[in-house]
Symmetry: C2
DNA sequence: GGTCTAATTGAGATATAATCTCAATAGAGC
DNA sequence: GCTCTATTGAGATTATATCTCAATTAGACC
């Protein structure tokens, strides 16, 4: 399977990088469609998936909301405002050995973990 | 606003308790509809929300999947099989002071956190 | 540059999760 | 039993994401 460089694929990658953090697929689409009105949502979704698989960007599945796409691929934690849904990076060291603290894995083969803090963001509690 | 005891509300609560752990709204609905074919999905969703607000059950929003409803209301962590989507409880002490380790809260008022481990469950890696 | 071929795209249908609308129903207080 | 209004059922709607398939096009080869 020979991968091709397409205008659309480049646009998706550039846009995720430009939007900096935690853009949803729809935000990426809305941003691209302003300059390229013919791009299809399906193309945006397809390329977000492909670029995530390639490791160029990282998909962050969020509890209670749409998936986010992050130009930062390193492991880090997030906070979500329960009022507006905004996602912020959390400034905290990554706990690499957290799964070692599990007392009984019951045959589960762990590959990673996510921590999402809940709270109210400054904008929301006025 | 006087809350009423309805057959449907009782069924939803009982069913979440019977299904023990992590049932999705659809699983609750499918379970009830066998004996009460006239119940509406909307009623199940409405009551799951109401009972969660009352604290009788607890909603667990899961990254990459439907919300789960838990008869156990205490804080604990979960693991999700990235192949089949199954959710399991994790046997690990709850880290009550985790949000104290955040270096810069940037005005965020934290109310809690969720940890979801990723991995492959025993059934899936055969 | 022209041709070939399969990867990719766009448009729209489909799937899934959840909520909303509104007329009909039925708890609960009297 | 009567009344009031919370609640329900049916179906429409919204949001998120994927799938289908014919048309397009990137890249290889000449």
């Amino acid at each position: 399977m020979n991968m091709r460089n397409t205008v659309q694929r480049s646009l998706v990658l550039e846009t995720v990088r430009e939007l900096k953090c935690h853009a949803t697929a729809d935000e990426v689409y809305q941003s691209i469609v302003k300059r390229h009105p013919d791009i299809s949502r399906a193309t945006v979704y397809r390329n977000l998936n492909l670029l995530s698989d390639l490791g160029d960007i990282r998909r962050r599945e969020m509890p209670g909301g749409a998936d986010r796409y992050d130009h930062q691929c390193h492991d880090h934690y997030h906070a979500r405002c329960v009022q507006c849904g905004r996602i912020l990076d959390v400034d905290m060291e990554f706990i690499a050995d957290l799964d070692q603290r599990i007392k009984d894995a019951r045959g589960f083969a762990f590959t990673g973990h996510d921590i999402v803090f809940r709270g109210i963001c400054p904008e929301c509690h006025q």
